[in-house]
Amino acid sequence: MGGEFLNNSSPSYTKIFYECFPFYLSIGMTYEQYWNGDCQLVKYYRKAHELRNEQKNQELWLQGLYIYNALCAVAPVLHAFAKRGTKPHPYTEKPYPLTKKGVNEERKAQEKANRQKAKAFFEAWAARLKLPERKDVSADGNNN
């Protein structure tokens, strides 16, 4: 392979075009585009192919993360000497946010949920204390 180039200082362009042709067909280019279309189009098809590969790689990585976390969640019950009644951790309720906006929204929702939880806790605590009912006190110290 390639020995023909050593014998001929100027390789046939056609030969190279035919060698590259299957690759471009595999990434979605048509016969018409490759042979008769704008010759620069191949660059953009290559770039698009690169982006598709990156996206696919991201998706596979994310899938791996979900699987890893799912395994971690069930890990406590898989333990041979797990205590009786051990339960697995729940699987993530929502998909992981992928965008910056999604991350911010998730954080805000979490903060809001924490505030609600704290409020409920302090209200329950105050109710348990059975504090005397609040009376209005005037400026001279007398109860009204």
């Binding site: 010759c39 189009l41 191949v42 770039k47």
Partner: protein, 109 residues
């Protein structure tokens, strides 16, 4: 966008361009790329005629010869045609140009 030479002759607009198919046809007819550098002036008419294959395949040879005889600055023409001829092969290895968002401007005075 592929490099093109556009001109008008006898009221008709012509667009000269090389596609992979037109290069294949030219090579099948015996054209060799290295001839452009080895014997440019003898290669020029064939190269010029080959540039018609992409958009004006059925234009008669006599018409192409007539146009060629009236074209000025043939030295410049051969360098442009050679650049255009190499474009389909270079596009297979070059990366797309990235627009960095630079603003082009010109003054009207």
């Amino acid at each position: 966008m592929a490099k093109q030479i556009i001109f008008e002759y006898k009221g008709k607009e012509y667009t000269l361009e090389f596609t992979r198919k037109s290069i294949e046809i030219m090579e099948r007819q015996g054209f060799v790329a290295s001839d452009i550098t080895d014997k440019p002036m003898t290669t020029l008419p064939t190269l010029f005629a080959g540039a018609f294959l992409a958009h004006h395949r059925y234009v008669k040879k006599e018409v192409i010869d007539e146009i060629f005889s009236k074209i000025k600055n043939k030295q410049e023409l051969i360098s442009k045609l050679a650049e255009m001829y190499n474009e389909p092969i270079l596009a297979l290895v070059e990366e797309p140009e990235e627009d960095e968002g630079n603003i082009e401007w010109e003054a009207s005075f």
